[in-house]
Symmetry: none
Subunit: 274 residues, 2 copies
Amino acid sequence: MRLRGAYNPVIRIAVIDTDSGFVTVLSKRAEVAGWQLSRSAGPVPPRDLVAMKLNGLLIDPAVLGDEAWPYLERIAAMLPELALVVCTGRSTVAQRVRGLRLGVDDWMTKPCHPEEALARIEAVARRHNHGRREVESAPLSAGELEIRPDRFQAFVGSEPLELTRREFELLYLLAEERGQVLEREKIYQRVWGYAMAHGDRSVDVFVRKLRHKLEKRSPSWAYIHTHFGIGYRFEPEPAGIVKEELRPAPAPTKTSEPRANSSSQVVHKTFTAG
Amino acid sequence: MRLRGAYNPVIRIAVIDTDSGFVTVLSKRAEVAGWQLSRSAGPVPPRDLVAMKLNGLLIDPAVLGDEAWPYLERIAAMLPELALVVCTGRSTVAQRVRGLRLGVDDWMTKPCHPEEALARIEAVARRHNHGRREVESAPLSAGELEIRPDRFQAFVGSEPLELTRREFELLYLLAEERGQVLEREKIYQRVWGYAMAHGDRSVDVFVRKLRHKLEKRSPSWAYIHTHFGIGYRFEPEPAGIVKEELRPAPAPTKTSEPRANSSSQVVHKTFTAG
DNA sequence: GCACCCGTGAAGATCCTGTGAACAGCAGGC
DNA sequence: GCCTGCTGTTCACAGGATCTTCACGGGTGC
């Protein structure tokens, strides 16, 4: 195995099932296909699933007992990217529909063939990856900035910004979607890999850190713009633009003081949207 | 409670199947869910499928005979965005795996419950929309206006209207339903996400703010029209038009004064129908 | 002419973001 | 094992931006 970036192409799936015969066969097939498969006979805490950075989860809810529905629901909500496939014994139409509406991606009935199980997981993953970006290794340029995924670092000239990993990933995501306004939830989902908890301010804090480091190395550019009530947008712009030219008539009433950059306060915002 | 997008795209699916009973029930359910469903008893040329702008296709390959595999393959290749679901009689594991690997997203076995069929299509579509850049990122044009969901903002030329989030969502909703008169309650329901309290004037206030900003950037057009006792309608019209051409006979009575824009008062209303 | 509806402006409440700092987790070095 | 530096997370506060609400008056339909 080799090191890979944050954007790893290895397919990692987990199986939660007590039918060891089925799981063993599945495991063999998965190995042939080059997938990483981990198995468990009981519920795995959602936190751990997050840490495993899974692409798919095949689960028999029967092993969860009463906790099955809440568990599935929690998983689906926390990890919307995860290919969540159920494979279980008899079930009613209502149960299947409930599961699918909850966020389960596919529902198979046992006995099911391992090959079909893999094919279905694959189909879900393919569907999911469609919208996704291709291999990311090409450096991006923006303003004075050069963002190099191969180094997990951004540079101004030859000076690195000394970004930490999360900072880099956030910057890279924003820069990839240059010009687009990204909602906080989307950002969190894509950088952290799971759903943002209500009230989490991490994205804001990291944006602040990024701005700080960006400004240190590239003071005359503004890169990250706030969109009130929505999220952030990446777009390199020469700083100091206050867009006066837009005002039809400045109408210098009385308080016509320049209002320019007072001391160290810097205008990060363009507030295109509120 | 949080803000939500107001964009509710219609889901369009097609069914290719000869089992008219099944299709009829399906069709009923789809209607209830607010989906558009079109039916066909034989193969539909891929070109036509493209033109239909479908979100999903439910198909029984049995009606295609020998052409089934190539047909499925062509569809999957031409329309990777389409949720392609098979629902057919008995099949072998090998057939199912082949189908899934070809690009079929889900494979059900008849007899299958219509509700489950819809739930599965929905599940595929949901998965698909996740990785994807917003479905509704296509900008709308109206008069001098360009409405860009990717920026949560509307522009005239390159000048943004500087709409806040709510203002934008309201404008976008109205523009999506261009030409339709929308009741206040409906508008509130879709933009705010919950039912409007009796006597709430928020919609009116936001329409006013919108008109104000629209007029600032695009003074020679009227976009939002009031329908007394009902609600509002979006339709870009060059300003100053009083719709004389609609009256059977202009019959220039006496009040033929230009009634043009007196000072700052502007006519927002067209009052086509009370 | 009379109810009712809508446009308008403003004020207060509410929500959102920037900011600084404290806290927790982890890895490496001693 | 213990200390230390680096990261990432969480919290509380303050200043603004935005949203809601209200009252008033003119407009509209009957």
